[in-house]
């Protein structure tokens, strides 16, 4: 069901991203959207939290350091950031320095309403339920499902095809082999994109 759209709620970019005018996006130059990604109203995307490589000389050697305009958040194609969701790059203390790490989100990812994502990487076809919290530096592999209201602890790895839920989240099941097939559960990203702003 499409949201109640008034005229031009969404800005559509050249690559087909549909971004709500009322989304709060900080540090846009450090955010990469893969195209056809939807960002809904009041979503918060913190592209301003990036690793300041120039502040410390030794911190740009590791492999995680991006090229000069370091990217804070990468989002793939057909991903969907629901209302009031928060995307925030993860951070941790590394050698006494508090530094941010890039947040990578794959294709066909759904982030539910009021979810908070601080993962290090989110794979393709991942479903994050509403009001779920993904802790810092967590890794969600492809086809992972985070149930509504789950709290994925910091640093947790959710393997592919696994369903996690609870606080703290544990693996509670697996999705079927057909998960993510176009049009079925987990494969509705294109349909979802199509209905936005209509």
């Amino acid at each position: 069901m499409p949201p109640k759209a008034f005229k031009g709620e969404y800005i559509e970019t050249d690559t087909g991203n549909k971004i709500s005018r009322r989304a709060q996006i900080h540090g846009t130059q450090r955010i990469i959207l893969g195209g056809k990604t939807v960002i809904q109203t009041d979503a918060v995307i913190r592209g301003d939290l990036y690793r300041s490589s120039s502040s410390h000389a030794s911190s740009d050697d590791p492999a995680g350091a991006a090229p000069s305009p370091s990217v804070a958040i990468t989002v793939g194609r057909y991903s969907y950031i629901s209302k009031q969701a928060i995307l925030r790059p993860p951070s941790r203390l590394h050698r006494g320095m508090h530094s941010y790490y890039p947040l990578k989100i794959g294709d066909h990812v759904f982030v539910g309403e009021r979810a908070v994502v601080e993962a290090a990487s989110v794979g393709n076809h991942v479903h994050v339920g509403k009001e779920a919290v993904i802790g810092g530096m967590a890794i969600l592999k492809d086809f992972a499902v985070v149930l509504d209201g789950a709290v994925v602890p910091a640093g947790m790895v959710v393997p592919s095809w696994c369903v996690v839920g609870g606080r703290p989240a544990r693996i509670v099941g697996e999705v079927g082999e057909g998960y993510g097939v176009e049009g079925a559960d987990g494969g509705l990203a294109r349909e979802r994109y199509r209905l936005v702003g209509k």
Binding site: M97, K141, G155, V157, W161, C162, V175, E177, A184, D185
Partner: protein
């Protein structure tokens, strides 16, 4: 019911077959649509029972339905049996074991010897089960030498191994470090030794000795050294193995061999099978006098054999500690926490970090014909499959979405179509739904839909499928869709625009709503029934069950007597849980001509064979609101 509306479930017919009979399955493979060809030779009888079966409509509320309804993406399809296969009609074989935390594969030989837990650095918090991370104690800023002691810390509940007094010398191979420490810890607790004696060969044990003071006061003085939990288990296991090997009379004693073989389940089965054989030990015991006196097994006698005699007064010490102020509620380990710990662990201080349980990737086979249905790639991180026969690529994918409230209400402005709120459907107001069937096969399919005109259960919802027979085109070529652009989307959007402007498109009986290359949409009209308890139903006498505990104050509400779901014993008008959920059972029968396969040479035409498949599908439409004014 956990899914958001609207949803689709598909019923696997295996729930109706009482016993998985391989012979029956083999026969039904030859006649895939004969639901019950049980009596060979009496064909008419068989068809009669089949007809009787088909007379029954599927009730999504019956308790049995819980076991047969699956979301479509969980279903597989066996190309050999031509049947839908649910997780109950398959067998699984483990392809590989991997740790869900580090995603490394563990070879199965190691799983057999070491147990199914990650042997690396992956641990779960014993308090909250969140994963633990290895972190250093020395927060050396800048200075690169992080040689400090290491601990496991939980990022969720902030538990660290320091709470139980464990530090690690190096950040790798923590499992072995921990197992050494665990042995020495329990030894230390029981022997109440000094700290210097406790030091493991790695000399990395830093005990916080005050914690154990409560349990230590009744210190035993056993001559032999008590073992840790793991070592004691190993000792007991070895002891019993020796006992059985010694007491077994003959080398082919089933009990002895299979125990020595490590409780392998085929061996155990073998023992059960040969329990009453003449060669078995039991029968030889009872039938003829044993030639030799049957050797007697004994239990463990010494601590080195795994015997553990609790310290006198240990229970009292535990109770006293539980009652003491410094322990409190949080100091006592909960049952969930203890269930993964050694049996002696009673307090939160005794809980050790849990190595992460391994997970498996599994291939799946059809239970009846043993064909492989799913075979994933071996690597744990790979999400691809070598074989994946999912039902979604055979049966049409059904999606349901609501149409606007129809017929056009005079009060509504026509520009803003009112989409019915599926979470509270007003009773007795017709709702139109669009059911789209999308074909994933390369052959066009002819689909027949059937539904009982009134849904089963106490809530009478009238359902009308306006076009029960439809054709769905073939999923011919992916390039067609690409060349046509986003044809389905455009059509759909123009349709929604059209219905927004005026109700030009009115669902007509006998006509499909819309049609695309490989999909067809039909309209379904639904009149939700009134819930019991919401009153104003055509009054029906309810003679039987109005006496006992009719405690709700709702008066003059009558309940329908006829109840298909077996819930009619419920005397009051209260809703059963989820009784207000509107679920429509639909019988789907699909026919198509598929290319002939090599193994079936007999068919009337040379290269195609007619196939059909039928199953029950349940559409979860929404929730009916209790009040009549929706």
């Amino acid at each position: 019911m956990s899914r958001p509306f609207p949803y689709t479930y598909i019923s696997c017919p295996c729930a109706d077959t009482p016993v998985p009979d391989p012979a029956r399955k083999r026969r039904s493979r030859e006649f895939p649509q004969k639901a019950n060809p049980d009596a060979p030779g009496t064909d008419e009888k068989g068809t009669i029972t089949e007809d009787e079966e088909e007379e029954q409509t599927f009730d999504p509320r019956s308790p049995r339905s819980n076991f047969s309804l699956y979301p479509p993406e969980q279903l597989l399809y066996c190309e050999d049996c031509h049947q839908i296969k649910c997780p109950r009609c398959i067998t699984e074989e483990i392809v590989c074991w991997y740790c869900p935390n580090c995603l490394f594969e563990t070879p199965s030989s190691m799983v057999r010897s070491e147990g199914n837990r990650c042997a690396r650095n992956c641990f779960n918090c014993p308090i909250c089960t969140a994963p633990l991370s290895v972190s250093t104690l020395e927060n050396v800023t800048g200075n690169g030498s992080q040689q400090g002691p290491w601990v496991l810390s939980c990022g969720y509940c902030m538990w660290t191994t320091l709470d139980i007094g464990i530090k690690f010398d190096k950040p790798t191979n923590i499992r072995t470090q921990l197992s050494k420490m665990a042995d020495s810890t329990s030894r230390g607790r029981q022997m109440s030794r000094s700290l210097g004696d406790l030091k493991s060969p790695l000399s990395n044990y830093a005990s916080v000795d005050e914690q154990f003071s409560a349990t230590e006061d009744g210190g035993p003085d056993q001559p032999t050294e008590p073992l840790g939990a793991d070592a004691r288990f190993a000792a007991l296991k070895g002891f019993y193995r020796n006992q059985i090997a010694e007491t077994s009379t003959s080398p082919n004693d089933p009990l002895g061999t299979d125990f020595a073989g490590g409780f392998a389940s085929p061996g155990a089965l073998n023992r059960i099978m040969s329990l009453y054989n003449s060669s078995s030990r039991l029968s030889s015991l009872y039938n003829k006098k044993p030639k030799s006196k049957p050797p007697v097994m004994r239990e463990a006698l010494t601590a080195s054999e795994g015997l553990k005699i609790p310290v006198p007064g240990a229970e009292d010490a535990v109770v006293r500690r539980m009652a003491s102020d410094e322990c409190g509620w949080d100091g006592v380990a909960s049952i969930e926490q203890r269930s993964f710990q050694p049996p002696d662990a009673r307090f939160a201080d005794d809980l050790l970090p849990l190595p992460v349980l391994l997970r498996t990737k599994r291939s799946k086979r059809c239970k009846s014909c043993k064909h492989i249905l799913v075979k994933p790639e071996f690597k744990p991180q790979s999400t691809r499959f070598r074989i994946r026969l999912i039902a979604l690529s055979y049966i049409p994918l059904a999606t349901l979405r609501p149409l606007t409230i129809s017929p056009p209400q005079p009060g509504y402005p026509t520009t803003a179509p009112t989409v019915p709120n599926l979470d509270s459907l007003p009773p007795l107001k017709p709702v139109q739904l669009l059911l789209t069937l999308k074909n994933h096969m390369f052959d066009p399919v002819r689909v027949t839909l059937a539904t009982p005109s009134v849904t089963p259960g106490r809530v009478d919802t009238k359902v009308t499928i306006l076009c029960p027979q439809l054709d769905v085109g073939a999923n011919s070529d992916v390039w067609d869709e690409a060349l046509q652009g986003t044809a389905p989307g455009e059509q759909r959007s123009s349709r929604s625009g059209a219905m927004g402007i005026g109700y030009e498109k009115v669902a007509e009986a006998g006509k499909v709503w819309d049609k695309g290359r490989n999909w067809t949409t039909v309209a379904i009209e639904v009149v939700p029934g009134t819930l019991p308890g919401s009153g104003r139903r055509a009054s029906r006498a309810n003679n039987d069950f109005n006496d006992s505990d009719n405690d709700d104050d709702d008066d003059s509400v009558d309940e329908k007597d006829l109840d298909w779901s077996g819930q009619s014993k419920d005397p009051n008008e209260k809703l059963q849980p989820d009784e207000d959920v509107l679920e429509i059972p639909i019988f789907v029968r699909m026919e198509w001509d598929s290319e002939n396969q090599i193994e079936q040479p007999v068919s009337k035409s040379s290269d195609t064979v007619k196939r059909e498949l039928a199953y029950w599908m349940v559409l979860g439409v929404g929730r009916i609101s209790p009040d009549l004014e929706g």
